[in-house]
Amino acid sequence: MITIEHLCKSYGKTRALGGVSLTIPSGGVTAIVGPNGSGKTTLIKSILGLVKPDSGVITIAGKSINNSDDYRAGIGYMPQIARFPDNLDAVSAIELVKSLRGYPADCDERLIDALKLRPHFGKPLRALSGGTRQKVSAVIAFMFRPAVVILDEPTAGLDPLSSSRLKDHIIEMKASGAAILLTSHIMSEIEELADSIAYLLDGSIIFHEPVASIIGKSGERTLERAIARRIENGKELL
């Protein structure tokens, strides 16, 4: 479980996060939704320690992540853009991450075959398509059976088969008790995977509700329309 309290972050004069508080429970998928520049990436990177927040507290499984690196052993991260050193192959990249994590026993390498990645293993990474690199990134994210999984637009650029295989894996991880944080622009994907949605706008969470409740309250048929309706109503309220 991840708990975020009063998280603030500004880049110079630009405010990216203005006191975000959020709880991401284990055994569930929490989706962060919001327009570009709303602070999604900053929020994710704060959890990963890539961005140093100005104030606020993040705890994972009850422990504050401040000034620590080791907590990331329990996190799997799949970035939005998968880029690797040009001249090495996927095996070397995976091997590097494995070795940095001290070769944990019992690695989950099922995704390699599920995503049909093995035929690409010998090729230099620069020769791989964006989608294939995305698959490498997915393998790395799930390989260590993390208690927390952070996925930034995980299926963008993937073919339908790979995309659905990845989704299967996400659901399986959820069932095994992982806390999963997801961003996506594809609302159908969120509808399919997420248990709850946190809507982020200008660095603040406008609402954080279960998917069923959002759809139910709006009376719309799909999540996408439900959210749209909700935002429009919100605007009127403002």
Binding site: I81, R83, P85, V97, S137
Partner: protein, 261 residues
């Protein structure tokens, strides 16, 4: 430390597999080989090799270092999402880039030197090789400092080019101007101090002490020789060279540790 070594090895391997590094190595090899073969005298070959070392290594190191960092940004983020400290990761990255470039230079230049260098030239060759490696370290550190601080690739590379131009040419023009303007004053000490503040000049003087010792014994040159050739001078200049590696590296490390990705 373990992570440092892994990242360094990975980075160096990546660079060694690139097209660029073999070109770099082969370039130095061909230049050095050609100079030894076609110069009438190994001294002239070493003089030309010195010029190329001092000119090219800073340029290549600072540009390539910056480009590599920009190219590897996303992967660095992925690595930072692993249970790895920023300091070992950055140090490993620096060591990998500097190690690959330095290794390429050492192999490319060292082989012809081993083949053709005479016993008399041994110390001069050693001076050229070690100064080449030190300049590599200094300018990779500067490159990373710029790249860590400036997120815009074009701007960063531009700053790097400007730095190289300043260190390689403009700074010496400034020294020359000072020497010409204040020609009536004894400026030997000032010249020594100004030289110590520029790593390329330090490298240049270090090799000059070997190749041009005869000229340095004439005129005010003797003052330079007395300073740079003495134990104190050697310690001071080595210290300055080391400071030129450590200072940009530490600054870059600090920025990297505090950086928001």
């Amino acid at each position: 430390m373990n992570a440092l070594w892994k990242v360094a090895r990975f980075t160096a391997t990546d660079i060694f597999r690139s097209k660029w590094l073999p070109v770099y190595t082969v370039f130095f090899f061909l230049i050095a080989e050609g100079l030894f073969r076609f110069s009438g005298d190994s001294g002239q070959a070493l003089v030309s090799l010195t010029n190329i070392t001092i000119l090219l290594i800073p340029a290549a190191s600072i540009i390539y270092g910056a480009l590599y960092f920009y190219g590897a940004r996303e992967f660095i983020e992925l690595l930072l999402a692993q249970p790895v400290g920023r300091k070992p990761l950055f140090t490993g990255l620096f060591s990998g880039i500097a190690g690959a470039l330095g290794g390429g230079f050492l192999i490319g230049t060292g082989l012809p030197c081993l083949l053709h260098g005479t016993a008399d030239d041994r110390i001069t060759i050693l001076a050229i090789l070690s100064i080449g490696v030190m300049l590599t370290l200094i300018f990779v550190a500067l490159a990373l400092l710029v790249a860590v601080r400036s997120d815009e690739k074009v701007r960063g590379v531009g700053i790097c080019l400007g730095l190289w131009l300043a260190f390689a040419i403009l700074y010496d023009g400034l020294i020359w101007l000072v020497l010409a303007l204040f020609a009536d004053y004894p400026l030997e000490r000032a010249a020594i101090v100004m030289t110590t503040l520029n790593p390329i000049d330090l490298g240049r003087v270090g090799i000059m002490l070997r190749l041009d010792i005869a000229a340095l014994m004439g005129y005010t040159g003797a003052v330079f020789e007395q300073f740079f050739g003495s134990r104190v001078g050697f310690t001071l200049t080595s210290g300055a060279m080391l400071a030129w590696i450590v200072a940009p590296f530490m600054l870059a490390l600090r920025s990297f540790s505090r950086k928001d990705f």
